[in-house]
Symmetry: C2
Subunit: 344 residues, 2 copies
């Protein structure tokens, strides 16, 4: 883990010191892999198992019409295009489904960051009756134990006794999710020195994104702000207010302040309307926007953010330039061959 | 914490070294107070606040017909006498409600021990829509903030900024629960040297309880077996099988093996039918019995345990002797004056 961080740091430094393609030293390109936890080292058998589980409806209980991919549709931006997603038995999820592309760079999970790891978040999901029809996690494991193909796949992925466990199920899924990277975005190619990768409007938007103040929260590899949570040794205090300025017309129009944010979970009054900063990579592919999915278009999301966070009404041409920049953050969503042909 | 444990140890040693009232050196009397966590030192203002919250239906959301005391009825053994308890909106809880008397001696909470502390378990409860009508913990805190009486009580109990928080709410309730002790049971008086406190039948039951093998799991202050969980620095591996021997007629009659135990939560196949050993103090007051509340009487519970755990069919007079002993474990349930008069 230490060496990995060193390597990532070195890579970041390398890019920062390169002959600048512009003066954008505060932007970070996408590394070749995300941070990897010590208790879940990557291996291809594990990731292949995780991928198979991800697309298997049975994982979410007998008769489930949904697989993980139903809401986190990897062929369609990694989400489902709905404000709130459908769950089992006609339920709706409480918040907008985030994309899973580049999810490995997120240090804490959920909009309020309440899960301290991808593995922990996956166990929460598998135990959540909104998401799984199985009466409990043990029943899910019993189903896997009854499937010889899965028994063999777990034995390959986790050599040793009792490979089929709740923790290993979460590890396999997480290992697969950490392979979901979107390299080669125009933005990354530009940072790599390919000046023509961005239009002049997108370059202007990139500068505006920094000058206007967007970058002060949306920085880092995933443009998801300071890494909260223990994974990065930073405590768990790095959350941001949304709305930062209460009372704009947008609050009511989009119900922005109806959800209390972290306060709803922790009960700490100083965390009212506090949220993890959502990542912006591939944002053009993940409408609708915000925790409640209330805003349908990217340009409107930019207007809302300028007003609620920075008290700014941006000129329309600046909104469009920032939108052009944000659209340059869409990379290649590299799907293994099986995904393209298989799926649900 | 260290000194407290020293003191408890000294007290235990003292009792063990006293002129024995019989040869029952494996039995432990009830100490004057349970272990106290370093981050929640006891104080009377805190316990008084916790007590008030415990009896206040509003704590479980607007319009709640239930307070904590509805299911954990302190005037009636600390539980509600039902197999599974009623929750909000016609829900039923998934398992039998345990008594709260002497709960401070339990190192992990829930039948499967999944909560590592009383405070953590209380937060789980307050976030559980089966138990609370509040849409989330933040809404509960907002209600407390809107009540001047509670604001003052929190400020007294937790001097400093922002006293009304989710964590402090759990601390106040837990501090109150740790005061719920049942001293002066015939059993404790007997261990203290008062030979006439137990009938000869109960004394014979006490010996049988040890000789038959019951004591090998039900030992310790609460007769709840080895202390699982990190609180005692023992890891989290101290759980027991129930049923230990599958296949007796009782399995089907009482649905004993319908619930997978810890496996249901952890998904670890080796924890199928594993449970925290339930405490036996005041057991005569907390029918019906077992995780599913399927057994109505104490004598039948003894028969079931003998068969499923030890493969024994006890002579009826031994069942009765053990029952007489278990009935001697009922202590004085010391209710503060306000509880007797107030409540729901």
């Amino acid at each position: 883990m230490y060496h990995l961080r060193q390597a990532i740091l070195a890579l970041c430094l390398l890019f920062c010191l390169m002959p600048a393609a512009g003066a954008f030293e505060h932007y970070q390109p996408l590394p070749g892999q995300p941070p990897l936890p010590a208790d879940n080292p990557p291996n291809p058998a594990k990731a292949a198992l995780g991928q198979r589980l991800f697309f298997d409806r049975h994982l979410l209980g007998e008769g489930s019409p949904l697989s993980c991919n139903s809401c986190h549709d990897l062929a369609s931006g990694g989400d489902d295009g709905q404000a709130l997603s459908r769950g089992q038995h006609g339920h709706r999820t409480a918040r907008n489904t985030p994309t899973l592309w580049n999810i490995g760079f997120q240090t804490v999970l959920y909009w309020d960051g309440r899960a301290p790891s991808l593995e922990g978040q996956l166990l929460d999901h598998l135990r959540d009756p909104t998401i799984s029809r199985a009466p409990n996690l043990g029943a899910t494991i019993d189903w896997l134990l009854a499937e010889p193909g899965y028994r063999r796949a777990f034995a390959r992925a986790f050599p040793g006794e009792d490979p089929v466990t709740g923790d290993n199920l979460a590890r396999a899924l997480a290992d697969f999710l950490r392979t979901l990277l979107t390299p080669d975005s125009p933005f990354d190619r530009y940072l790599g020195g390919e000046r023509s990768a961005l239009t002049s409007e997108a370059r202007r938007g990139m500068q505006l994104f920094e000058d206007t103040g967007c970058l002060s929260c949306h920085f880092g590899v995933n443009m998801a702000g300071p890494a909260p949570g223990p994974a990065m040794g930073l405590g768990d205090g790095f959350y941001e207010l949304f709305p930062n300025h209460l009372g704009s017309a947008y609050d009511r129009r989009y119900g922005i302040a109806d959800d209390l944010g972290r306060f709803a979970y922790t009960g700490n009054p100083w965390e009212r309307y506090m949220w993890r900063v959502p990542p912006l990579r591939n944002i053009a592919e993940t409408a609708p926007y915000f925790h409640n999915g209330s805003v349908a278009t990217l340009d409107e999301a930019i207007r809302v953010m300028a007003k609620t966070q920075l008290r700014l009404t941006l000129p329309e041409k600046d909104v469009q330039a920032i939108e052009a920049f944000l659209r340059s953050l869409t990379g290649r969503m590299v799907l293994p061959e099986e995904m393209r042909n298989g799926g649900e």
